[in-house]
């Protein structure tokens, strides 16, 4: 079994004022802060490692993106349910953000990450589940790096959501596309 090494780690919110302001808006995504949170921590993590997207090009070919969220984007689901129950038309933009993959498409396009795209709801600790999953992908030979994003919206009124992103690699072999 490989040992997964954490190369970089980023969080949202990083400060109390950030928490109060909420994550930056993400064009094309509405109603819910789920996708903006994912985009923000992913960008922070990748910038900390690579600086600019062009610097990630070589690694990106074998970088997986794994989104782990126990509850998922329930704010989008609630907006859809509310419109349906009221007999109102559903906002078309909600269709495009109705699955967690969509925001990964935003991240991978910006950073040219070409590895597997996976989202799951974990039983147990989400970060442990993400690391365990990265280890499986590495052992399976389909990625040499993985961007792991753990995100949860707040379930309590007035609270804020939170997200973290980890860039990880297998510890027991060099990266860069060599045959495992």
């Amino acid at each position: 079994m490989t040992t997964t090494q954490v190369w970089e780690r980023a969080f949202w919110p990083a400060t109390e004022s950030e928490a109060a302001q909420g994550p930056r808006k993400l064009p094309g995504f509405v109603v819910s802060s789920f996708s903006p949170l994912v985009a923000e921590v992913a960008d922070r993590c990748l910038r900390a490692q690579y600086g600019e997207p062009s610097a990630a090009a070589d690694d990106g070919a074998r970088t997986a993106v794994v989104l782990v969220s126990r509850l998922g984007d329930f704010a989008t689901d609630r907006a859809v349910a509310k419109a349906v129950d009221a007999g109102r038309p559903v906002q078309p933009l909600l269709f495009f953000q109705s699955v967690p993959n969509s925001v990964i498409g935003h991240v991978t396009t910006q950073w040219q990450l070409l590895g597997p795209v996976v989202c799951f709801s974990p039983e147990g600790d989400p970060e442990e589940a993400a690391l365990e999953y990265a280890d499986l992908l590495f052992a399976d030979g389909e990625a040499d790096r993985a961007l792991l994003v753990v995100v949860e919206l707040a379930t309590e009124e007035g609270a804020h959501g939170s997200a973290s992103a980890l860039l990880v690699a297998p510890e027991d072999r060099p990266t860069g596309g060599e045959q495992p």
Binding site: A81, G105, V117, E132, Y133, L136, D140, E142
Partner: protein
């Protein structure tokens, strides 16, 4: 990008149990008969009111089936076919895939924390007597195929001897309304994969359960494999939030990775079960991907999308189409690509149109794609 190692260096993976339900009926037999008949399952939606929607049709079972009840039955049938006793089932993990439940966003805010996909996975594992369900996949139309690939990876690497995979989607008003608002549903009532004049997808009920295990473990038990899962590939497009790469680059990479792992050359593949949603974007991108991955052999490779029969079963697509692929190997009959009205120059493929085609297939490929540029390919072989 280097290819993954062929499974020849690792534990071989076989299918020893399988059960599937679609709008054609409960159990694998209903799907087997429907594939032979080649008639789509679409009808007027009666499960909820569609009078305000552009599209009116879907492929769903009568009444209001309960997902966990249906999947518990399917898992029991799959485990029974695999010949597993309660002790063996109790040592087997579950990988599960589903869409969010329409009841969850209607719960009071204070109950939101209890409403999530992982809870369904764990409930299902407990009811089926399985060991646990550590991950419930939510990555849309590649959720089940990713779960199958990951189950195979767990077995091939020696981490697990046996894994149960289950997935399900039942047509519901929220998703129907959402897809209708996104103009993704065909308003002419048919899903016409790869066809000129195709107008989008139609939704379908789909649920399935599969038991995968190492060939050596199956042999020790004296279990008779239904098929081999020879290769799997997962790759991203890095192109768009919700559109596939127009040249199908991610799908092609997933195909090439799966075939390399299976140690199969393009011309050794007898049939490809396509994602084929019937949307303009997907089908042309997928045709480009097939040409890119199969090269000079692409014009000869028989292809069909059985979504044209079952409807698009979203998170369950991968498991329904995996079952179709196993049936192709067992029955020697390639399913029809229904609803076809003529060639789209962007989708030049050797499509199985008009009627099912007899062919004793030895190797088949199942291809899936999803929003966010997620792509998977699975290679199955006859045993």
């Amino acid at each position: 990008m280097t290819a993954p190692r062929p499974t020849a260096e690792r534990e071989a993976v076989v299918v020893t149990g399988m059960s599937v339900t679609t709008a054609f009926g409960r159990g694998t037999g209903a799907l087997r008969e429907a594939l032979a008949a080649g008639k789509p399952a679409f009808g007027e939606v009666t499960r909820f009111d569609v009078s305000r929607r552009r599209a009116k049709r879907a492929a769903h079972l009568p009444g209001a089936p309960v997902l966990v009840d249906e999947l518990t039955d399917l898992l029991a049938q799959a485990a029974g076919q695999a010949g597993l006793d309660a002790e063996a089932v109790g040592g087997t993990p579950l990988l599960f895939a589903r869409h969010s439940d329409p009841s969850w966003p209607r719960q009071p805010q204070e109950r939101q924390a209890d409403c999530h996909a992982a809870a369904t996975g764990s409930t299902l594992a407990a009811r089926a007597g399985l060991r646990d369900a550590r991950r419930t996949y939510t990555n849309a139309c590649v959720a089940a195929s990713t779960a199958l690939a990951d189950a195979a990876a767990l077995i091939a690497s020696g981490r697990e001897e046996r894994v149960a995979v289950a997935a399900g989607y039942l047509v519901d008003e929220d998703v129907f309304s959402l897809f209708d608002a996104g103009r993704a549903l065909a308003d002419d009532g048919a899903l016409r994969s790869f066809s000129a004049g195709r107008r989008g997808l139609l939704l379908g009920d789909g649920m399935g359960a599969v038991i995968l295990e190492s060939a050596s473990a199956a042999e020790r038990r004296g279990a008779l494999p239904l098929a081999g899962l020879l290769g799997w590939g997962r790759a991203g497009d890095a192109y768009h939030v919700c559109q596939p790469h127009p040249e199908g680059l991610g799908m092609a990479r997933a195909l090439s990775a799966a075939m390399a792992r299976a140690d199969r050359a393009p011309e050794e593949v007898d049939y490809l079960n396509a994602h084929g949603t019937g949307t303009s974007y997907n089908d042309s991108a997928e045709a480009a991907a097939i040409h890119r991955a199969f090269g000079a052999y692409a014009p000869e490779l028989p292809v069909s999308s059985t979504k044209s029969l079952t409807g698009h079963t979203l998170e369950a697509s991968g498991i329904v189409e995996f079952a179709v692929s196993v049936l192709v190997l067992q029955e020697g009959l390639l399913p029809v690509n229904a609803g076809y009205t003529g060639q789209d120059p962007a989708c030049r493929l050797n499509l199985v149109t008009d009627a099912p085609r007899s062919l004793k297939a030895r190797t088949v490929v199942s291809l899936n794609a999803a929003f966010g540029g997620a792509n998977t390919a699975l290679v199955l072989g006859a045993v």
